[in-house]
Symmetry: C2
Subunit: 326 residues, 2 copies
C-alpha cells in the first residue's frame, strides 16, 4: 500500500502531521509513505523504514482560489498530487484547503466515469453502539443541482454498503420537515428524482435533529447545508463536552463523582469528538483522496490516515466502479 | 396584559398546553388569557380567574398548506388570530404549523411597515454563564433574497439590543468558512450589503461550530439553513444528554459518581435542553406572535408562554418600530 501525505496543509502545521505519521507507520508496516513538505522540517523522519521524503517549496493558503492553486506547482498539495500519480499510489491525505484539494484532484486524478461532481463523505457516530451513518456532501460544493443530489445519494449508498456490509442502506434527504412537500427549493426538486431512482433505497425527508439517534444509514444533502450540519453537530458536541468538564470541576463532590463515573464519560466524549471522525473521502474521484480536518491535531490527522487505510483495504474505488457499472 | 393561546396546535395535543397554562396563570396574576380550543377538553380551566374560553371546532394539520389554513376559519389557529384582534391582545402563542401561523399572522395581524418578510428568532444558550446569542431566521422562510437577509440582520440586532441591553450587538452571517468570499451563493450576495448597512455592527462570516462558544450576539441566516442549524444543535444536545445518562448507568461506581456530581450535570443538561428555549418570536409582524416547538410538552410550552410574557414586558413591538423609524 502506498500513501502520499501532504505534511504542510492544515492550520496546525507540521507538528500534527509528523506526530500522526510516526504513529501510523509504526502501526502499519505494510504501508510505504511519501511525505511531501519542507525537507528540513521533515528530517526527523528521513531514516524511517518505508518513508520517502519529497520536497515542496510553498504551502497553499486555506482561502486560495482553486485556479491559483492549480498553478502553484511547488506547493505541498500539487507536489503531493504529482507524487501520487507518478508512483501509482493508493491514497492521498491532506488537511489543506478543501477547494484546492477538490479542484486539483478533479483536474489531475480525474473523476470516475459517470460522476459529474465528487462529494465529501464520512461516517458519524450515533447514540447506538457500533451504529454509524454517513453524510454526503459535507462541503465539497457550495451549491448543487438536483441531479447532483441523486449522484450523492448513489455514492453514499454504495459507500455505506461497502463499509458496513449492508445491502440497500436506507437513504434520507436532509430537510426542514419530514413531509414530502417540505425542503429547500433544491430539495423539493430532488425529492421526486430520489424517489424514482432504482439504485437507492430512498426513505424520504429527515430533520436535522434526528440522524444521531441511529435510525438511518445515509444522509443526503447539498454541500452547503451538509457543511452547516457537520459543523453544528461538531460545535455542539465540543461545547457540551466542555460543559461536562466544568460541571465536574464545580466542587469537591463533583470531582469525586467524576472519579467514579470517569470511564463512561470519557468514552462518550471520545465517541462524539469530531477529531476522531477520520476526515472525509472525496468520493467520485479516481482514487482514495482524504480531506483531513483543517485544524487537525495529531489525533485527528492520525484518524484521517487510518480512515484512508481502511478505505484502501476495502478497495473502495474499484468496488464503487463495479457498483456503478451495474 | 392579554394573551391568546392556541390550545390545540402541537404534536402532543392539549395535555401539554393545559399543564403549561395552569402554571402560567398561577405565576402571572396580571395576565388575562383567552384559551382557544375544544370547550369540553378545556373545561377544567373554565372557572380559573382571568381565563376566557373560546371555542374552535377544528385543528390544522402540521403539514397544512398556508392557503388552506387561511380558509379554515373554525380552526384553533384562525379563531385564535381573530380573538387576538377582537380583544386587542398583546401576545399570541401557538405550537401549530409554522407555515400556517406565518401566513395567518401576516394576512390578519399584518407586517410592521418596512418589513417584507418576518423571521423566527430566539435566544440560544452558550457555554458562557448568562451569555446568549440570537438566531434569525430559524425557519419562517425556506428560501430568501439578499435583501431579506439584511432585514433579518436588522431585526436580530434590534431584538438583541432590547432584550440584553447591549448597544451595537455584533452580527455574524452563518457560512461555510470565515473568509469574506466563503458562503452559499445567497450568502455571498448578501455579504457586501451587510457590510455596507449602517444600522448594524456586522463582523463577517462565522462557521456553524462557533456560536455556542459565546463570542457573538446575532447569527443571521436564511430560514432553511437556520432551521438546519437549530435542529442540529437541538438533536446533538439531546443525543449527548442521553449518552451522559447512559454513562452514569453503566455500573454501580458510575451511579455513585452521578450522586456526587448531579447538580452540575443537571444544570448543564437543563441549559442545553431546547425545550427551555421558549419558542421563537415571529419578528416583523405587528404583535408578539410566538411559535412554540411543534412537539411541545408542558415545560417547553410554558417556556414559550414565559418568553411571550418577557417580550410583552419589554414592549418589543413598539421599541422595534421606534428603532426602525430611526
Amino acid at each position: 500500500m502506498k500513501f502520499v501525505i501532504d505534511m504542510m496543509g492544515g492550520d496546525n502545521g507540521i507538528k500534527a502531521t509528523i506526530g500522526a505519521t510516526k504513529e501510523f507507520i509504526n502501526r502499519h508496516k505494510d504501508v510505504e509513505v511519501f511525505l511531501v513538505g519542507d525537507l528540513n522540517a521533515l528530517k526527523e523522519l528521513k531514516n524511517e523504514k518505508n518513508v520517502h521524503l519529497v520536497e515542496s517549496k510553498t504551502v497553499l493558503r486555506m482561502d486560495v482560489d482553486p485556479l491559483t492553486a492549480l498553478k502553484e506547482k511547488d506547493s505541498s498539495l500539487m507536489v503531493a498530487i504529482n507524487t501520487y500519480l507518478q508512483n501509482g499510489c493508493d491514497a492521498l491525505i491532506s488537511a489543506g484547503s478543501t477547494g484546492a484539494l477538490l479542484s486539483a484532484a478533479i483536474f489531475k486524478i480525474k473523476r470516475i466515469e459517470g460522476i459529474t461532481r465528487p462529494c465529501l463523505i464520512t461516517s458519524f457516530p450515533t447514540i447506538k453502539k457500533n451504529k454509524k451513518f454517513v453524510v454526503c456532501d459535507l462541503g465539497a460544493n457550495n451549491s448543487n443541482t438536483k441531479e447532483e443530489l441523486v449522484q450523492f445519494a448513489i455514492m453514499g449508498s454504495i459507500y455505506y454498503s461497502i463499509l458496513y456490509q449492508k445491502k440497500d442502506p436506507e437513504v434520507y434527504l436532509l430537510s426542514n420537515g419530514t413531509e414530502e412537500e417540505k425542503g429547500s427549493p433544491l430539495g423539493k426538486e430532488a425529492y421526486p428524482l430520489l424517489k424514482e431512482c432504482k439504485s437507492i433505497n430512498f426513505k424520504g425527508n429527515i430533520e436535522a435533529r434526528d440522524p444521531l439517534f441511529g435510525e438511518i444509514d445515509v444522509l443526503v444533502t447539498d454541500g452547503y447545508s451538509g457543511n452547516i450540519y457537520l459543523k453544528s453537530v461538531e460545535g455542539t458536541a465540543k461545547a457540551m463536552s466542555g460543559m461536562i468538564k466544568e460541571a465536574f470541576k464545580r466542587n469537591i463532590f463533583a470531582m469525586i463523582g467524576y472519579l467514579f463515573s470517569k470511564k463512561g464519560i470519557v468514552e462518550m466524549k471520545e465517541k462524539m469528538d469530531y477529531k476522531n471522525v477520520g476526515g472525509a473521502l472525496l468520493m467520485g474521484v479516481n482514487g482514495v483522496v482524504i480531506k483531513a480536518h483543517g485544524s487537525s491535531d495529531v489525533k485527528s490527522f492520525l484518524s484521517a490516515l487510518e480512515n484512508g487505510y481502511k478505505l484502501v483495504s476495502v478497495d473502495i474505488v474499484n468496488k464503487f466502479k463495479e457498483e456503478l457499472a451495474k
